[in-house]
Amino acid sequence: MQDNEPRRPGELAFNIALFLVSLFLLYSAYSISGFEALSAPGAVPMATTAVMVITAGLTLRQTLRKPALTAEKLSRDIIPMPVIVTIAAVVLYALLLSPLGFLPTSVLFLFGLIWYLSARGPVFSIVVSLVTVAMIYLIFRLIFTVLMPPGIVPEGEMIAWLRGLFSAGN
């Protein structure tokens, strides 16, 4: 079980963080009901967080024993720019979803990411985004009736118009 691969950049910090968080969670589990009874609501949380502390501690010890020399770099191999940009894009999406609404936010999200990630031009990105969002909207909103925030888009009127179109055809 002992792996002798070199320690990856950030691995030590991650394992220290896991160990500390596990300790905090153990404390938090203890404060649920202490050692009141084996059937108390805090019993299983305490047991599981204790297991987390032990296993995180063992992993930390293993990590400390690994050679620190590696050709890898944190900014290139663990969190390169595309990863940061993508995470930021998802955060932005969540922030804009309620005020802007599902349709504009999704088109913006797809357009921005596809344009950034692919070597293709903006026209390609906007066409792909529009078509994909239209398809997702049809499937989720109309077939699965999942309600997405309408935001600035007059969605109710749009759907009423679509329904009118279909019923007029009948």
Binding site: A37, P41, V44, T59, T86, S106
Partner: protein, 497 residues
């Protein structure tokens, strides 16, 4: 004669037949798309089919269920993202095969063995329902608890060597599952005084984050390398290949049907147990497990589809759901005025045989759609990764949002996605986290029931475990798996050698 007449109901009614077909096809896609789950689809369908008759409603749901369990394997093989928890084990050997350009063969064999497993499960449902229900009724809370531990340990032991990291991940999952108000005492657990955490963390958000977002972020590393062109060659597997794996398939289908029949355990645990079984009984696989072994596909896929038939056994005979989907189906039966339980089979045998027959038809449709639609399906995967990844991310966001119509769930999904990404970077398996979250409630409830019935005494609990053959077997299995993966095992055997 009555049985035959009831069995023929869906076959002779074109509407029912087409509903099963549509359901199965939709199920394959729902199961395959990460973020869309069969549980979600079936629960939404309840509101759709509220005003329908019970037969068409059940026909559609059964189709979705059967197709969905199988569909999860598609993206597991093509993208290494299991579309459903029951396909976690399938990705372990399916994706390596796809990387070797054998995605078509992998999907072909998976389709055939899923059909095989599904059929064995249905057979078990039809023949052994009363017997297996008798067996399951004897399960004590301590047995359920050990079964949950067994499930998590199994995923941990499958994580490619580092059991310590696997156990950490499993414990973390149980912890995440415990967040919120304790349902028995209404005590707050891990809520840190915030009301947002009182209802707990959405399991779907955790799952989409861990499997959708973290995989998406991971794939950004290779965004500039040419897209994975999954070559689809031969799809229908040769008879000799199928024949070779029938003995293993029989064993793992049996595991699937039995595990599926246990209340609370579904295709996900069945698949993992079957995979573990395959690694133990296959002495010399042509390709090592984890690198594209056919046995690694046969075992989980026969088991998870066999678990579908199995899951209906406790549902129809005891009124206890075999897994999340059958739990929702019990709700649907209630809505339609039926009362699943021991009396259902006596009072309404037509319903039982209708379900058996619909499952059989869904299984046949699964085989047909599975072997014919692959090339169209793969077109989605052949899109350039710079287009596919943002779309997967968007679907993940919509999926996480749609569960509770909540932006908070999107943040949870992203949080778990980023965390899962770092876990992956540093060699932690993600499967045990999900298993932990799913089984947390089962483990906690049954631990408390067991220890209360043993008067809060660990000694009494141990005595009870050793006195019951069933508990003893489960206890010994848990111990064996744990010890066999620790250095102690190696030390014993080295000494003997």
């Amino acid at each position: 004669m009555d049985i035959l007449a009831n069995l023929l109901i869906p076959l002779l009614d074109l509407k029912l037949l087409s509903l099963i077909a549509v359901g199965t096809l939709a199920g394959i896609y729902v199961g395959a798309i990460p973020g869309l789950s069969v549980t979600m689809a079936v629960s939404i369908l309840i509101s759709f089919t509220f005003s329908w008759d019970v037969y068409p409603a059940l026909a559609l749901m059964i189709g979705i269920y059967m197709g969905g369990v199988y569909g999860g394997s598609r993206t597991a093989i093509l993208l290494n993202i299991p579309g459903a928890p029951s396909a976690i084990a399938t990705a372990m050997d399916g994706y390596p095969l796809a990387k070797k350009g054998m995605a078509g063969e992998a999907i072909g064999i998976v389709t055939v063995v899923s059909f095989f497993g599904g059929f064995i499960g249905i057979l078990a449902l039809a023949l052994f329902a009363p017997l297996l229900a008798d067996f399951a009724i004897r399960f004590q809370p301590r047995d359920y608890m050990m079964l949950a531990v067994l499930g998590i340990l199994l995923v941990g032991s499958l994580s490619g060597g580092n059991l310590v990291k696997g156990i950490f991940a499993g414990a973390l999952g149980i912890g995440i599952g415990a967040v919120g108000m304790d349902p028995l005492t209404f005590t707050e657990r891990f809520t840190f005084g915030t009301s947002a955490l009182q209802a707990g963390v959405s399991f779907v958000a955790v799952m989409i984050g861990m499997f959708g977002i973290s995989e998406g972020l991971q794939q950004l590393h290779t965004i500039n390398t040419p897209g994975v062109k999954q070559k689809i060659g031969r799809i229908v597997p040769s008879w000799s290949l199928v024949k070779k794996h029938i003995p293993l398939g029989m064993q793992t289908s049996t595991i699937g049907a039995v595990i599926g029949a246990l209340p609370g355990t579904g295709g996900d645990i069945a698949a993992l147990m079957a995979y573990d079984h395959a690694t133990r009984v296959t002495k010399n696989p042509e390709v090592p497990f984890g690198q594209g072994a056919i046995e690694g596909l046969v075992a989980p896929e026969t088991a998870n589809n066999a678990a579908v038939g199995g899951a209906f056994i406790p549902m129809l005979t005891l009124g206890i759901p075999g897994d999340a989907v059958t739990a929702i189906m019990i709700g649907a039966l209630f809505i339609h005025g039926l009362n699943p339980g021991p009396m259902l089979m006596v009072e309404q045998p037509d319903m039982f045989w209708f379900i058996v027959s619909s499952l059989t038809l869904a299984n046949i449709f699964m085989l047909i759609f599975g072997l014919t639609g692959i090339k169209t399906f793969v077109k989605i995967v052949e899109l350039p990764r710079s287009v596919l990844l943002p779309v997967i991310l968007l679907l993940s966001i919509v999926g996480a949002y749609a569960v509770n119509n909540s932006v908070t769930d999107v943040y949870w999904m992203l949080g778990f996605g980023v965390f899962g990404y770092f876990m992956k970077c540093y060699g932690y398996p993600l499967g045990p986290v999900i298993l932990g979250v799913i089984l947390s409630r089962l483990l906690d409830d049954n631990w408390r029931r067991a220890i209360i019935s043993d008067q809060e005494s660990l000694w009494m609990l141990l005595k009870g475990t050793l006195a019951s053959p069933l508990s003893l077997v489960l206890f010994a299995t848990v111990l064996l798996i744990f010890v066999s993966k620790t250095p102690i095992w190696g030390m014993i055997f080295r000494k003997k050698a």
